[in-house]
Symmetry: C2
Subunit: 479 residues, 2 copies
């Protein structure tokens, strides 16, 4: 390979620029605290700096890194900052980034087992590891009729679960004949918006999603679920799917999966458990309540790309029975026919997901689990939960602040006593300071600040920092 053609970066150039990018990332990580956490860009600011037309001739790679620093960096919010406490975390790690890099370099397609056996088999294997690590029931492992797959997101996992449930409810005939029953789905009021999106995509219409009442801990009331199912049956509708949440987005409330599962078993409903971030904490035996009731679940998902140091995208999605999932999603055009597929001996993951193509995502998860070991990952989870517990104590002990919900794992929802307007101002001030980034929640109709601790590089000092900032801002404003 030489550079006599304009369309080639030679191996030597790749080595050179690859080192530069690796060093750039190492430097970025080392200095990430120095940037304002939340981007201060105004709409259009990035585009205004970009040329209106693409270059006709190739440009120097050197310019790209300069432009990344000049144009891109001010326009990003630093999700890797130790002062990032908004939404859910997305902490990456060295071994994960290098797994992603290797995957990009290999450039293979894993749509079929046959198009790269190792891509499929490593994924199946590492997902079996994960199932054991977080204590999933054996039936989610690949040794039986179930198994795991990497999805891009919990949203896609929820959609796939709903489509499999729809297929089963329609006698494995929906794929061919379309929706014939008046299907109804259920989730708690606090469930993630992806349930609503999945119900819409599947053609049921948002009106066929029941948002079930929650209790004072913001977890689904199983009795309210049972009543809703009963009402719908009375009305001639066809209940088929329940999404229980292990760790809601707003407050990490945990639905009582066991009781919800009993309702599902009695009524013949598909139970999907969305444990997107909180499920990772099930790595630690002391959080085994996060695994309760999963024997009744038909599907489950957890996101290493949130709280397990793995780059987006890496959602681990499990089904207890592959048949309805594959039944809903399989395609086998002539150009994909091959002997291993026809032997029935292999998994073709194209039938477990929406897209056909797929990259080698298991590499990064394999690297993360091996590099940190189960104990390393556990210690990180424990550190974050301990820090959140300390923060919650500071809030609870302060006369002007209060907890807005029971603290759960690594998440604390809290507020100042001076009402919504003041809390909105406080949030805006914290985020505008650049020193920290929080998000918000509305719990029981009341506005709250929301702090979630999940970055690998967050230390006690960073949590103290945002607490001091909050107190100072509150004090300054009421001298």
């Amino acid at each position: 390979m030489d550079k006599d053609l304009p369309q080639r970066m030679t191996p030597e150039e790749f080595r050179h620029w690859g080192r530069r990018v690796v060093d750039w990332i190492a430097d970025y990580w080392a200095s990430v605290e120095e940037f304002p956490v939340c981007s201060r860009n105004a709409p259009g600011e990035v585009r205004a700096q970009l040329p209106p037309a693409p270059p006709q001739q190739g440009e120097d790679f050197d310019d790209f890194l300069r432009d990344v620093e000049r144009i891109i960096l001010p326009g990003i919010t630093h999700w890797q900052s130790p002062n990032f406490f908004a939404f859910f975390p997305a902490s990456v790690s060295g071994p994960s980034v290098l797994g992603e890099l290797l995957s990009a370099g290999l450039g293979i397609q894993g749509m079929l087992w046959a198009t790269s056996p190792a891509c499929t088999e490593l994924e199946t294997h590492v997902l079996d590891w994960m199932a054991d690590m977080i204590g999933l029931p054996h039936r989610f492992k690949s040794s039986g009729p179930g198994g795991g797959v990497i999805q891009d997101s919990a949203s896609s996992a929820t959609l796939c679960a709903l489509l499999a449930a729809r297929e089963r409810a329609e006698g494995m005939n929906c794929r061919q004949s379309g929706i014939s029953l008046p299907l109804v789905a259920y989730a708690s009021r606090e469930a993630h918006s992806s349930v609503e999106k999945a119900v819409a995509i599947a053609g049921l219409g948002g009106g066929r999603l029941r948002l079930v009442e929650v209790d004072e801990r913001l977890a689904m009331r199983p009795r309210a679920l049972a009543e809703a199912v009963h009402r719908d049956r009375e009305a001639g509708l066809h209940p088929f799917f329940v999404c229980a949440t292990v760790g809601t987005t707003s407050s990490l409330a945990v639905d009582p999966v066991e009781e919800v599962g009993r309702v599902c078993a009695a009524e013949g409903l598909w139970l999907h458990v969305d444990a997107a971030m909180a499920g990772v904490a099930a790595l630690c035996p002391e959080h085994e309540h996060l695994r309760q009731g999963l024997d009744c679940a038909d599907s489950y998902c957890v996101n290493p790309h949130k709280w397990m140091l793995t780059n987006f995208d890496c959602d681990c999605f499990y089904v207890a029975d592959r048949a309805p999932l594959v039944g809903a999603l399989t395609v086998l055009p002539e150009y994909l026919r091959n002997a291993p597929t026809e032997s029935g001996q292999v998994i073709d993951y194209r039938d477990w997901q929406i897209p056909l193509g797929r990259r080698f995502r298991a590499l990064k998860l394999w690297f993360v689990i091996r590099y940190f070991g189960v104990e390393g990952l556990q210690s990180l989870i424990r550190k974050h939960i301990a820090l959140a517990g300390e923060f919650a104590q500071w809030v609870a002990a302060h006369p002007d602040f209060e907890l807005a919900a029971p603290p759960s794992l690594n998440l604390v929802c809290f507020r100042h006593g001076d009402g919504e307007e003041f809390n909105r101002w406080l949030l805006q001030q914290v985020n505008a300071s650049g020193r920290s980034y929080l998000s918000h929640a509305v719990l029981d109709g009341k506005f709250a600040l929301r702090l979630c601790i999940g970055q690998a590089n967050t230390e006690r000092s960073h949590v103290e920092g945002v607490w001091e900032l909050l107190k100072d801002l509150a004090q300054e404003s009421c001298p």
Copy 2:
């Protein structure tokens, strides 16, 4: 950042191992020709080499690269080999891999404009560049009501197009009320299987997809489409969506988009154009027939991750009007509310796709376009098309081989004169040799070998190599 905690790879370690991985990839690319193109693994071979349980303590990164060589490499098919001629290409490039690496290191989430403005704005901007590069009508650019977004695959683009079409057909009410009309979709018999999959996911049922007859060039017959639409209307059904293909998977046939578009306009149908691989050739003005009729299209997609040196996943999806797409897919839970979204001044790409989360995929496309320049990308396309043309000439001139379809762009379908069984044997022998990798197609009911040229590192010698191999195998078998 130091390594007193087990859960941290220090910046210095990252620099060290990052260089190792970069060098490993450079070495891999330099030697990729030496591997058997298609993996020879048997089912279970990879898993048999992996420990049944994950490690409790962390392991050395050094071991990972050893295991990649020992376990993974024999289990992959080398999509980056210059002798890979199967399916569609997935050629990566240095700048693309480094863009992916940078994206992984930054580790940001682009679900909302507000969560990293540069992620959204660079994507919008580079997709406008792409629209100009391939000559899309102006209405697909972001300056009007339309615009582009990166999807993971053409499958997802087709699904999103179908969902937007469904929303429009149902008076923008499907999202809330579900499917109320007897909707019918259309594509040619040669269209990609993702159309069937999308129709199934959307809840219409495969029975509501009409596979329209094709002509002798395997392109959709617009008259047959018009007749099918007419028949369905007569039967009380509701035609709503047509997928035209620019470059079918089996033979790169190009549907007559202009005539198909006229039918769609007359009948009020959504026209989606799936130009997954072939659309890239529209970079070259001499292939402007690939752009014909797009004024009538409602949506369009093309995959730089196939034939434009960009890592999977990177499908560019365009709509002429965002409203039905966003109408079908938007969610706005409280925890995602933010001022820029409410101002209406920004694009939130979560509403343009199935998942909520999204990584910074525009970086790699930006790097590719800038590094190679439009002219560099054009020259690569031209080289591949010229090589395919030469191969087609060799086939046509040989007494024992024949073309199975008119050669189209970089794809040649051909066969030996000795019948299907012999051709299957030939394919099996070529692929088992490890020296090359072809796939197959069935055209008009007849089996054909299929050669697609799209790797950046494929030279004339590689194409000659597979031709010599084919001739030798054919000769040996009939001495």
